[in-house]
């Protein structure tokens, strides 16, 4: 197992470097000039050229690429923002907690709501409650996030006056954004749990248990459910990883100072170090989460654990 983990960790290095090269290359070819964004629209070509020169943006592609790779992977320095003059690592550290809370909250909510919906649907397959459960799950995933977010604000903040409309500070601030973020996850969880449950319920050992006279309830919840939930772990993990980098719209709607907001304004400003740094960071975080999920998975599922022995 340890060997496997080490192997996986080593594999992450080329992936991270690959991500760095890809994002660097895309940004390099993105039209738009950070010098203009800094100097303002009235800057002359000469002003811009001079600033680009001092920023090292006039160097050849390969020179800039290697400088970036060296800084990132050898000196572990993600650079400084062109606009805020702050170190990208400091910024990420300051902004990550907000996104992390958002992602964690939505992960929990999507499990709490999605798993029961999926179970209900599976146990009552093709009956009315199956249809209703799945419809509830699907309605949430069928609306644009910003729209549902604004509608929730209208309901909870304006009409009921019980939750703050935007910003961060207290736990109440996160309730609406977490609901809006988790709607996609709820549908995914419900679907997955449903199909996985259906599969397990039909499997031999549940049938055997039933034949032995175990009650339907016990058979479903004691025997079938734990096994049906195993694939959910993978799903939860990867979707958590994806949410970390995928809350751009929600953060913008609710003015949450997280990674998503940070990256989108950096893209708009052509703040290359910030975009590159955040993307590499998120990619590494994502790979680590996936690895963690696989390890947990291996411990939970004895069949897989056996493979590593």
């Amino acid at each position: 197992m340890t060997k496997y983990v080490i192997k996986r960790l080593l594999w992450m290095i080329p992936v991270a470097v690959g991500v760095a090269v890809v994002i660097f290359t895309i940004l390099y070819f993105t039209p738009g000039d950070p010098a203009v964004m800094i100097l303002g629209s009235s800057a002359t070509f000469e002003d811009r050229q001079a600033l680009r020169e001092t920023m090292g943006l006039n160097d050849a592609y390969i020179v800039q690429l290697f400088r970036f790779l060296k800084d990132t992977f050898i000196e572990f320095n993600l650079g400084t923002s062109y606009f805020t003059n702050k170190a990208v690592t400091t910024e990420i550290a300051a902004r990550l907690p907000y996104t992390f809370i958002l992602a964690l909250g939505s992960m929990i909510l999507s499990c709490v709501a999605g798993i029961p919906l999926g179970i209900t649907a599976a146990v009552n397959q093709n009956k009315l409650s199956d249809r209703i459960s799945m419809l509830i799950a699907l309605i949430g995933v069928s609306m644009p996030q910003f729209w549902i977010g604004l509608l929730l604000v209208l309901l909870f903040s304006v009409h009921l006056g019980i939750l703050p409309p935007s910003g961060v500070g207290t736990w109440q601030h996160y309730i609406i954004p977490v609901i809006a973020t988790s709607l996609g996850g709820i549908a995914t969880q419900a679907r997955l749990v449903r199909s996985s449950m259906l599969e397990v319920i039909r499997s031999d050992y549940v049938t055997t248990a039933r034949a032995k006279g175990v009650s339907r309830f016990t058979a479903v919840y004691k025997h079938a459910l734990p096994n049906a939930l195993i694939p959910v772990i993978t799903q939860v993990g990867t979707s958590f990883g994806k949410t970390l980098g995928g809350t751009i719209v929600i953060e913008s709607v609710f003015s949450i100072p997280g990674i998503g907001n940070y990256m989108i304004s950096a893209v708009n400003n052509r703040d290359y170090p910030v975009v590159r740094g955040s993307v590499v960071f998120l990619a590494v975080a994502f790979s680590l989460i996936v690895l963690l999920v696989d390890i947990i998975y291996a411990y939970v599922d004895p069949r897989i654990k056996a493979q590593y022995k």
């Binding site: 738009g32 964004m37 629209s41 001079a50 606009f83 910003g167 961060v168 500070g169 003015s255 100072p257």
Partner: protein, 558 residues
């Protein structure tokens, strides 16, 4: 507190303050500017009004007693990433700079020099290149450092060295004359640039505080301002508290921008426009700065809020691609045909819900060198017949699709769509190219990318400041990409101190009108909305609101 209000009256804003409390006059001002029904609001003394000076005060003139506010919360709609004094200017930073720092002076049309002092006691123009500035001798920052001429020179020179503004390269030097006097010298004879640096480009701090700061004041601001930063959550909130030891002890000398009428101000960053009004309605904030006209409309009929509409510092304009090979090359009639086909009043109504003013020249009427005579001159009055005639006489190929390029904002989106429909009426087809800002900035100098540009420009001090946009400088083309020697002569003439005469300015304006290089469409209002217990607001010359200087009544509780 009466005295502070009185001080506000003294800064040359008499005419505006007098308008307040007189609902009929107020209504007049509104209807002429197209502001919606404030006159219909009950009692008339709680009304909004149009601050024609666009500079200092939108006082409602209510009789209610004013009071020091304890805690105020204001929503600002731009992200603020960096509080440092001389970093590159973003909207978010600009909206906070005058609360966080003090400048040397502010624009004051009543003063002989056009300037009044904040840190500055007096100033004197030595020649076309140089301004001699004397500051007060009693200035201390919040850490107790004494501010002297040395510090002022340090600020100007460091600012120039950092080079985060295009104006930086204009500063020749800022040199110390004596303990409290400096000479600010430019390397070019240009109108308004020294004043601009003094009033809006170079915030002043002490060298000692700046150098002892561990982050170049990116987060830990130490300034002479009446407010001290006590808490800052990047991208979310900024809290400032009143500096009880503010250096100017003589209340009558405190500048209208350095008041501290609230003990504690929390700025909340709310970037989503539709969430700004929600924050105001749910009492999370008391003041919503820079609200869009669409959002502000709802509050105008609500007695619980005051809506302050101020003539904005920006105006919207279009320009034509006049480069060789461009569609509009050497064809002023074609350009004019487009202008005549556009109904500016229709845009004011359709895009700004009436909250804008049709422009009459390439520059805002608040500028000191704006010639009132332009208002009555012909300026491409909407005339579709004339447009068709001009189009026919221009011999332009009407089958080609005109590409209208603009930076993507909701206002520009609507404007471009309306212009598209106007041009269709004279038989011109347009394609809209809305780009995000960075892409737009790159493409606007590339002749192959566009035919018409739609954008906005700031115009706050001199109309001739915008002449630089038509100037070919080095390899940078004019915004219309035209190569026109006469235009170049005129623009360099009016930008110099010597050539800045009424005659020359008229010639310059007349020429760009005749050639139709640019067409200014309208000047949109800025809306600041407050709770009704906030009775007046102060904005700086660029229209940014200063919550510390607002007028709070006794009813304001917090």
């Amino acid at each position: 507190m009466k005295r502070k209000v009185l001080a506000l009256f003294l800064v040359g804003m008499m005419t505006i303050t007098m308008l307040a409390g007189c609902s009929s006059k107020n209504g007049d001002a509104d209807s002429s500017a197209g502001l919606t029904q404030s006159g219909q609001q009950q009692e008339g003394n709680e009304d909004q009004q149009l601050n024609t000076a666009g500079e200092i005060l939108a006082e409602t003139g209510s009789e209610a007693e004013t009071a020091q506010a304890k805690e105020v919360s204001a929503a600002i709609s731009y992200d603020v990433s960096n509080l440092a004094p001389w970093s590159s200017a973003t909207s978010g930073r600009l909206s906070l700079m005058q609360t966080l720092y003090e400048y040397l002076a502010y624009y004051d049309s009543e003063s002989d020099t056009g300037l009044s002092g904040i840190l500055m006691k007096e100033c004197e123009r030595i020649d076309d290149f140089t301004m001699r500035v004397t500051i007060y001798d009693s200035i201390y920052d919040s850490q107790g450092n004494h501010l002297t001429a040395q510090d002022v020179a340090f600020c100007f020179n460091t600012w120039a060295e950092m080079g985060n503004s295009v104006k930086c390269k204009l500063l020749d030097s800022c040199s110390v004359v004596d303990e409290y006097t400096v000479d600010i010298k430019l390397n070019t004879d240009s109108v308004g640039d020294i004043e601009n640096m003094m009033c809006g480009l170079v915030p002043i701090v002490t060298q000692a505080a700046y150098e002892s700061s561990d982050d170049e004041m990116i987060e830990h601001v130490v300034s002479t301002s009446p407010y001290i930063v006590t808490d800052y959550v990047e991208g979310s909130t900024l809290t400032v508290e009143k500096n009880e030891n503010y250096w100017q002890k003589d209340e009558s000398l405190i500048s209208p921008f350095s008041l501290a009428n609230a003990d504690k101000i929390t700025f909340r960053i709310v970037t989503e426009a539709s969430q700004v009004s929600t924050n105001l309605e749910t009492n999370v904030v008391d003041i919503a700065a820079n609200m869009s006209s669409a959002e502000a409309a709802r509050f105008e009929t609500d007695d619980n809020y005051n809506v302050f509409a101020i003539a904005g510092s920006n105006f919207h304009w279009i320009t034509f691609n006049c480069s060789e090979g461009g569609m509009f090359y050497n064809n002023p009639d074609f350009r004019k045909a487009v202008c005549y086909a556009i109904d500016a009043a229709g845009i004011v109504e359709g895009v700004f819900n009436g909250g804008a003013k049709v422009s009459r020249a390439y520059g805002n009427p608040e500028c000191v060198d704006y010639n009132k005579a332009w208002d009555s001159e012909e300026y491409y009055e909407y005339n579709i017949e004339k447009a068709k005639e001009l189009l026919a006489s221009s011999g332009a190929d009407t089958s080609q699709v005109i590409r209208i390029m603009y930076p993507q904002t909701s206002v520009n989106n609507s404007m471009a769509q309306i212009i598209q429909s106007y041009l269709l009426e004279i038989g011109l087809n347009c394609e809209l190219l809305g780009y995000e800002s960075a892409l737009y900035q790159t493409y606007k100098t590339e002749a192959g990318e566009w035919d018409i540009i739609l954008d906005e420009k700031q115009s706050v001090d001199y109309v001739t400041s915008l002449a630089s946009t038509l100037q070919v400088s080095g390899s940078t083309p004019a915004i219309c990409l035209a190569e026109d020697e006469k235009l170049q002569e005129l623009v360099s003439l009016v930008q110099s101190n010597e050539g800045h005469t009424e005659e020359n300015i008229n010639a310059y304006m007349g020429y760009i009108k005749d050639e139709c290089y640019v067409y200014a469409i309208c000047q949109a209002n800025i809306y600041h909305v407050t709770e009704s217990s906030i009775n007046g607001i102060v904005t700086n010359f660029k229209g940014w609101l200063l919550p510390g200087c607002a007028v709070y009544t006794k009813d304001f509780e917090r």
